[in-house]
Structure formats: C-alpha cells, structure tokens
C-alpha cells in the first residue's frame, strides 16, 4: 500500500545529506521506472566537520542550499553518516524476531555496549538481514539522540518538514541498486569516501549486510599529500583532484600517461590506499563467507574523495573487481536514474541525498 502511494506521488521528498564538507539536497521525479533528478543543490560548508552538530548553522547553510534550486513541496528526509552513526552486526535472535525496527531492551543494551564513540543518550534501531545468512542476523544502528534531533531541527529551521532522519548507509544501498540490475548472486559494494572517513556498504539482494569504516577519508589524504609533497593543504587538494594518483597494474600497461606529480601523490597515499583496498577485500571475503555461493560484484565509488583521479582504477587493480563512479552508469539502458547534465552536481557527490530521496 505504501509502495503504491509512493509510486502515485510524482515527486519524492527532498533528500538532505548533512555531510562533513557540504550539505546536499536532491529531489527526484518519478516517470515510469525512471527517477529523474528534478532539483539539486549542494552547499559547501564554511567550517568542515559534523554539519548537524550545530542545528542553527546547519539550517542556515541548508536554507542557502535550498535557494539554489527549485523543489516541489517541503517534505524532507535527512541523512547522517558515520562516524556520527555507528553500525554493529547483531547476532541476537530477538532482533530478527522483533516486530518493528525498535530493538527490545536486550538488543538495545547490546548496541549501547558496542557503541563506544558516541556520547550522550543513544537512539538505536536495526534492520534484519535476509534469510540464508550464516551470521549475523541484523545490523544495529546507534546515533546520539541530540544529533538526530539536530538534523530534523536543521531541516525545520530551513523551512522543510522533516519526515525522517535515516542513516546514509541504507540510502547508498538504495542508490546503488538504481544504477543497474544487479545479479542476485552478486555482492555489490558502495564505498563512500567522505571527508572524515571512508565507509563501505556491502549489499546482497538489495540489502545492506555489512556497513563499516574502511579507512581514512579525503581530508586525511590531503594531509598526507601536503606532508609528502611539502605543500599547503589547499595546494594538496588541487593536486589530489587534478593530478590524482598514477596508474598502476593493468591500467598502467594500457599506455595511460603517468606524470611525475601523480606518482608523487600515489607515493604519499599508497599506504592509505593499500590499507583501504585491503579493508575492502577483507570485507568482501567476510560477506562471501557469510553468504556462500555469492560472488564479489562491482564496487561503486561515491563521496567527495571518490573524485581522486584514477582511484577507481587503483582499487580495481587491487581488488580484481570492477570499480566505477556512478557517472559511468548514467545513460545506460539498465540505469533507472536520470541526472540532467546542467545544474546538477555529479551523482558521486550527491549519491546519499539521491538515496534518501528514493527512500521517501
């Protein structure tokens, strides 16, 4: 019934991703099986960090962001991501048996025990993992109550009506599954390279079965480049985007040019990127063990850090799987997402907001 009502509504709610470096707002229009980006705006934050920590400042930034594009209606879904949200696999049978997403006191206590990096009263939820999994049975989510309320109040402060505050990880899973028709046997991954950390979401049959921190984020990479090249962070940021990292492995053999600067950037980031690739590989292997018979599928790169030039090729070489930016899927017949070229930020920048809008 809800799905039918959702389909009848032409415009989705506005997905608002409170990132550490920017706030992104996206609205989609449904046309048949297609989801067309009808409104999109992205506002870089003056002070980087947890955008929703200060609701008034976030509301002001969001209000500026909303003025940049036209949106239908005022209904919004806000998203917050790790490390403001923590995800923990749960083995508790009670979690799977619970009637709704509110864990019973035992599961809640277990989530509070596992959650170590969030201060203050916690709000906990979970989603059960599909049958056939050997372990775990659910993924628990914990967030500081104040942060969730701040996200909602930021939306309200910007003139929106916040219907829900959700974790970005599930939104990314939804986003990824609009890019093409994935095989049910594939383990599809999304790597969200954020400012503070890289977050990996692995999905089986459209469901996120593993959500974890995979390594450092874009800001740490910029710092490494700045130290390695002995330049300012601002210059390092420019080098990171323009030169990127040097091609390695099979891509190197294809004859792509390899500049000295990109080699230096690669040298500065090699350890982080190798750790990242190793973490992703271990995560894929873990899920393949949990779901025997499933094979490692593609990895989709999103987030501001995914714009590091040649990162997809590096990870593809290291992991032995296809690694793509969302832009690579757009225009494909199997892709249900349509993003107009003009005035819309690249989908890798606003993937979380698109996913949140899709969930509405």
């Amino acid at each position: 019934m809800i799905a039918v009502k959702r389909r009848l509504k032409k415009w989705t709610p506005i997905g608002v991703d409170f990132g550490a470096s920017a706030i992104c707002a996206i609205q989609l229009r449904r046309e048949g099986r297609l989801l067309i980006v009808s409104g999109a705006a992205r506002q870089e934050l003056r002070e980087r960090g947890a955008a929703v920590a200060q609701s008034a400042a976030a509301a002001a930034q969001l209000a500026i962001c909303l003025k940049a594009a036209k949106f239908k209606g005022r209904l919004a879904i806000a998203g917050i991501s790790a490390p403001d949200v923590e995800f923990h696999p749960l083995d508790a049978a009670a979690a799977a048996a619970a009637a709704d997403d509110q864990p019973d006191p035992g599961v809640q206590a277990e989530l509070e025990r596992l959650t170590t990096d969030i201060d203050g009263p916690l709000e906990t939820r979970f989603w059960p993992i599909s049958a056939g999994a050997q372990a775990p049975t659910a993924i628990g989510v914990a967030v500081a109550q104040s942060l969730a309320v701040n996200a909602a109040q930021s939306c309200e402060g910007a003139g929106l009506s916040c219907a829900r505050v959700g974790p970005v990880a599930t939104a990314l899973a939804d986003f990824t599954h609009q890019l093409r028709d994935w095989s049910p046997d594939e383990i599809v991954g999304v790597l969200d390279v954020g400012l503070r950390q890289s977050r990996l979401v692995l999905c089986v049959q459209r469901q996120a079965v593993l959500v974890r921190q995979a390594g450092s984020g874009g800001h740490a990479w910029t710092e490494r480049i700045a130290v390695g090249l002995n330049v300012s962070e601002r210059t390092a940021e420019v080098h990171k985007r323009d030169s990127g990292i040097a091609m390695v492995g099979q891509h190197r053999e294809t004859g792509e040019s390899r500049t000295e600067l990109s080699s230096m950037v690669l040298g500065a980031l090699r350890r982080d990127l190798t750790d990242l690739a190793g973490e992703i590989k271990r995560s894929y292997e873990y899920v393949m063990r949990c779901y025997p018979g499933k094979r490692a599928g593609e990895l989709v790169l999103v987030g501001g850090g995914s714009r590091l030039r040649n990162l997809p090729e590096f990870l593809s070489d290291a992991l032995g799987i296809d690694v793509q930016l969302p832009s690579a899927y757009l225009g494909d017949a199997a892709c249900r997402l349509v993003a107009p070229a003009n005035g819309v930020p690249p989908p890798e920048f606003c993937a979380a907001a698109i996913g949140l809008a899709m969930e509405g």
């Binding site: 879904i77 917050i80 949200v85 997403d101 509110q102 709000e123 939820r125 989603w127 989510v141 967030v143 109550q145 969730a148 309320v149 909602a152 009506s161 916040c162 829900r164 505050v165 959700g166 974790p167 599930t170 899973a173 939804d174 459209r206 469901q207 996120a208 969930e359 509405g360």
Partner: protein, 206 residues
C-alpha cells in the same frame, strides 16, 4: 531496503502532534474566518437594519405630521368651500336686485333706509343647511352640494320725516303681493335728529 527513522519516538510523536495541530488549524482557521466574516456581515446587517428602522420611524413621524397638516388644510378647504357654497346659495335663493327695485318703488319720498338684512342675517349652523346626498364615491363628502334654506324674513330699518310715511311704505309692500306679511315692528320718534324724524323697523315675511 526498509527505511529506518533515527528520530527519537518522543520527537516523532511531538512532530505528529504538531502536524495534527497544524492540519486542524489549516482546516479550522479558514472555517473560523468564514464564520467570523458571516458574523461580521450579520452584525453589519443588524446595524444597517437598526439604522433603517430609525430612518423608517423618522419618516413615519414626518408622514404623520404631513397627514395631520393635510387633514388640517383639507378641513380649512372644506370650511372655505362651505362658506363659498353658502354664499352662492344665498345669492341664488333670492333675486335681491328685484327686491331692492321693489323697495325703491314702494318707498315714499320722505323715507330712507338705513339697513336691509335678512332675519336671521346668516343661515343657522345646523338645520339651515341641507346636504343632498350623491352616489357613493371616493370624495363624495367633499363634492356634496349644500343647499341652504333661504331666509324667510327681511328686516328693513330706516327713517321717515313723517309718521305716516312708514305706514304708507308698509301698505305698498303689502300691495305688491311679494310678501306673505309686512309688519311694522316699531316706529320711534327721535327728536334729537336733525331734522327730527321717525325711526322705523319693518319685517317682511315671505
């Protein structure tokens, strides 16, 4: 995937309450506005009706004043009409020029008249007037002819130098046959007059 909501339950309930209140307000405020507008219109109409009532009372008062004025004027007009009709009737009853010619022919040379008057000199207020009824009509009362009974006596006052002269005057009037009777009411000698004379008074009755 199922959409999780990380908002605390209390906050969600508060939001739902606020949304409900807003929804009710969105419904009730326009309704209240409409009711208020209707009441305001009703109030304005009441005030207007009261004003009209007062205006009506004022006009009714003026109308009553005008009606009484019209009645008064109509009464005055009726009175004037009656007087006119009475005088017309009086004029029409006797051929006074003929009457005076008779008096002149019968009057001796040494007599002269001081006054000639009907007796009574005016028709009585009632009894003398006879209203001849007309067919019923809207203003039959106003247009009804009034017949005045003619006087039956005429009183002649005059003077004579000789006592026999008034008697001769009486005899000639009787002989004319116009009157049923002619009587000498009085004949008084007035020695203070110059010359001395007899003051007489005759009543001629038809």
């Amino acid at each position: 995937m199922g959409a999780l909501n990380l908002l605390p339950r209390e906050y969600q309930q508060a939001q739902r309450r606020i949304r409900r209140v807003r929804a009710w307000a969105a419904v009730l405020l326009p309704a209240a506005g409409i009711v208020a507008a209707l009441l305001a219109v009703d109030g304005v109409q009441d005030v207007r009706a009261e004003e009209l009532r007062l205006e009506n009372d004022r006009i009714q008062e003026q109308l009553n004043d005008r009606r009484s004025e019209v009645r008064r004027l109509a009464a005055a007009a009726d009175e004037a009409l009656v007087r006119l009709q009475r005088s017309d009737a009086l004029r029409a009853k006797r051929n006074w020029s003929g009457m005076f010619q008779l008096f002149a022919e019968c009057m001796p040379a040494a007599c002269w008249l001081e006054s000639v008057a009907t007796d009574p000199d005016m028709p009585p207020a009632s009894g003398g007037l006879v209203s001849r009824a007309r067919p019923a009509g809207a203003d039959s009362a106003k247009t009804a002819n009034i017949a005045i009974e003619a006087p039956r006596k005429v009183r002649l006052r005059g003077y004579a130098l000789d006592a026999a002269e008034p008697l001769g005057f009486v005899a000639k009037l009787k002989q004319s046959g116009v009157f049923q009777s002619v009587t000498m009411e009085r004949s008084v000698y007035e020695s203070e007059g110059k010359p001395p004379r007899f003051r007489f008074e005759l009543i001629c009755e038809w």
